[in-house]
Symmetry: C2
Subunit: 425 residues, 2 copies
């Protein structure tokens, strides 16, 4: 079967997947957890083959760390599934209940999106998290993971799929795509697939967005800012800036640009620059910044750069309004932070910066589904439509309107024989 | 200025539009209402020119009715604005409030989408409704109405714009596109425009969806079904079927296909066919239907047809499950109804039919923002992402996450020095 036929079958099964009760979905998750623990030796063996192949292929150690699936990662993902089982049901929530007229009742009820295609990087724990989130939210999913962990992914997927189906999920609940060309096939499956969630490089996500008619949720780049206000507390600010830049530079929520209030620059910038340099960060700045601290001089256009590395851009601004204008122009509407003790200035920043996350006095690195208490995430969305920021269970559901009548016709209302009374129930 | 420059300026202004208080937005709406009443003679004069030109161009009377803007329509739209002023603020709603750890507080707050492009048919009242919905929801909007009411649209727009800006809305709050080629320019404005809402023919909406990178909300076709169950009450069913088919045939929510339970067909179908014929409806059906009532015989593939006319397709099915399978395969996921007194059968239908609206014992024509009590609508969405069904104020907002810390860094949590406690506040 090709991807079009596979997803057509999933589409048919998606109504049955949506109809699974909370008890059935939680039982399926519990079965998945049990099966992972039971088959851990197979998983570890497959992962060791992947790790060996990666080492032989010269994959750098920092990347290889993410490919690993050991006792520690297994404990993490099974704890994640336990947490997910405890979370409230995202389905069947009554979001609106209104009597339009005598005997004519309207309800808006949350329900799954249907069939979701998720393309993610080589991280075996992501496969477990994503498939668990889809089971809990009643969605069918096509999963395509990075090729560097193909062996681990296959073993994990087979275990998860068998356990879910045995616990009552329909045959078409989950499908694994193993070949790279299946990504292009998947992009053609509009009508069958309701949503695509691509994770990966800017270039890859852009490619997906430009080559499909299916709605895409996610983010292409993460150009996050931290703005140091004149009323900042330097003792708080330094560790936050260092964390935002260095705690994990390859992440989309790492800070790329530091904006500094001109009135604070002379006093605060040297100490910040020292702290950044001590943590291995290379500084680039405008001519004006170079007159205060030692740094490489950069141009205005370069503020659109996502470094994903131990490099930071620095620029001075007159006030919070100029910082906001810079962020709305050069940023990627992901996550931006203000460091200030002045709550009025902070309120202005948080109102006017047009980003999924706006922070006061904490690291941009907090933009993450686990850290928000969502259990896990399928991705982070910079789109404003449907879901914004880290996407957990709530971002995986939509709703339908249910209307119950007793033979009601529109003609009676159009011709004034009856009138709506719109009473919330 | 071209559309790219115009929308870039609107994008800059959108933060200020979003920051307008509820009082300011309601005051702007009140000013718009006053101005429309004050300048009614200019509006009516422009509309009479449009009406005369339409008559000379041979536009049929049924269409000309929609172009009209008279005292009656003015009373409708000003009453609509009064209703909108009374509606609760869709902005600034706290959707989530959670303490992640001591002193680290996360809030999810509703906010406008930003800049919306709306392309709608020649109906002057739609221009007033759409611009009012955008003002109430704090969105900037590019409006392009049908050319047949160009003169009325221009006068209405100028009145609304002047009143809104005088009441404190930013310069870039609303823009009217008057030339047809500006639609193609607008489609290229990704990055500046956050959402497009096209209204019109299937072909037109498909064109928009295929020629832009901007998210599109709406629906291309409306193939709505009514399923007559064996447990239907024929006295209720006949007027509902007649209303669903004939009350306004050109609407997307008119029923195009009637599915009839085989066990009920012999007894009920002749009476239904008579009632439909008395209302001028032409019947097409499968061979099996033609053996019970007189009708033109049609093929299976033709069930994908949206007639938008006094024509109906009829097919027999074994049971509710076959009806559901037919609807999910041939329908457009818009609005579908079951006629039955058996609530268990109805529950199955409403759970498994994958449409924005699922109805029991009432006409599919109820799928409409006004009839749902939303005041008005900017369109009806068959997309499952973001908004589904009639789109009122709630479909015009998104949210942002606000995180307040006291110098919190991610490193402390990653290294186990601190632990999240996720306490809802």
């Amino acid at each position: 079967m090709n991807m079009r036929e596979i997803t057509a079958r999933m589409k048919q099964d998606s109504s049955n997947m949506a109809a699974m009760s909370l008890e059935q979905r939680n039982a399926a998750l519990a079965a998945v957890r049990e099966a992972l623990l039971e088959h851990k030796d197979e998983i570890f063996a497959a992962n060791q083959e992947d790790m060996k192949a990666a080492e032989e292929a010269g994959v750098p150690e920092s990347v290889r760390k993410r490919l690993k699936f050991d006792e520690h990662k297994l404990a993490d993902v099974t704890a994640g599934i336990e947490g997910l089982i405890k979370l409230a049901d995202p389905l069947g929530k009554v979001q609106l209940a209104r009597e339009l007229d005598e005997g004519l009742k309207l309800y808006r009820i949350s329900c799954p999106i249907g069939v979701i295609g998720i393309i993610f990087e080589a991280r075996p724990d992501a496969l477990v998290q994503i498939s668990s989130l889809c089971i809990k939210s009643g969605n069918c999913a096509v999963l395509k993971g990075g090729k560097e962990t193909a062996r681990t992914n296959k073993v994990l997927f087979d275990i998860i799929y068998a356990a879910a189906v045995k616990a009552g999920a329909p045959q078409g609940c989950l499908v694994q795509a193993e070949q790279h060309n299946e990504i292009d096939e998947l992009l053609e499956c509009h009508g069958n697939v309701d949503l695509l969630i691509p994770r990966g490089s800017n270039q890859f996500v852009q490619y997906i967005m430009n080559h499909t008619k299916i709605p895409v949720m996610g983010h292409a780049d993460g150009i996050c800012h931290t703005y140091l206000d004149e009323d900042a507390d330097l003792k708080k600010a330094i560790p936050v800036i260092v964390d935002a830049k260095t705690q994990y530079t390859a992440a989309c929520n790492a800070t790329e640009t530091l904006l500094v209030n001109r009135k604070a620059a002379g006093e605060m910038l040297p100490a910040i620059a020292n702290a950044l340099r001590e943590n291995g960060v290379k500084i680039r700045g405008t001519q004006e910044v170079a007159e205060i601290i030692e740094c490489e001089v950069m141009t205005e256009e370069e503020f659109k750069t996502e470094y994903l590395d131990l490099i930071i851009s620095i620029k001075l601004v007159d006030d919070v309004m100029e910082a906001i204008a810079h962020i709305n122009k050069y940023g990627s509407h992901h996550t931006d932070c203000i460091l200030t003790e002045n709550d009025e200035t902070a309120a202005k920043f948080m109102q006017l910066v047009d980003s999924a996350g706006v922070y006061q006095n904490c690291s941009t690195r907090f933009a993450d589904g686990f850290r928000y208490g969502f259990g896990a995430e399928v991705g982070i969305s910079t789109s404003k439509i449907h879901a914004r920021g880290p996407v957990g269970l709530e971002g995986l559901v939509t709703y339908k309107y249910k209307l119950f009548g007793q033979g009601h016709t529109v003609g009676d209302y159009a011709q004034g024989r009856k009138h709506f009374h719109f009473r919330d129930i």
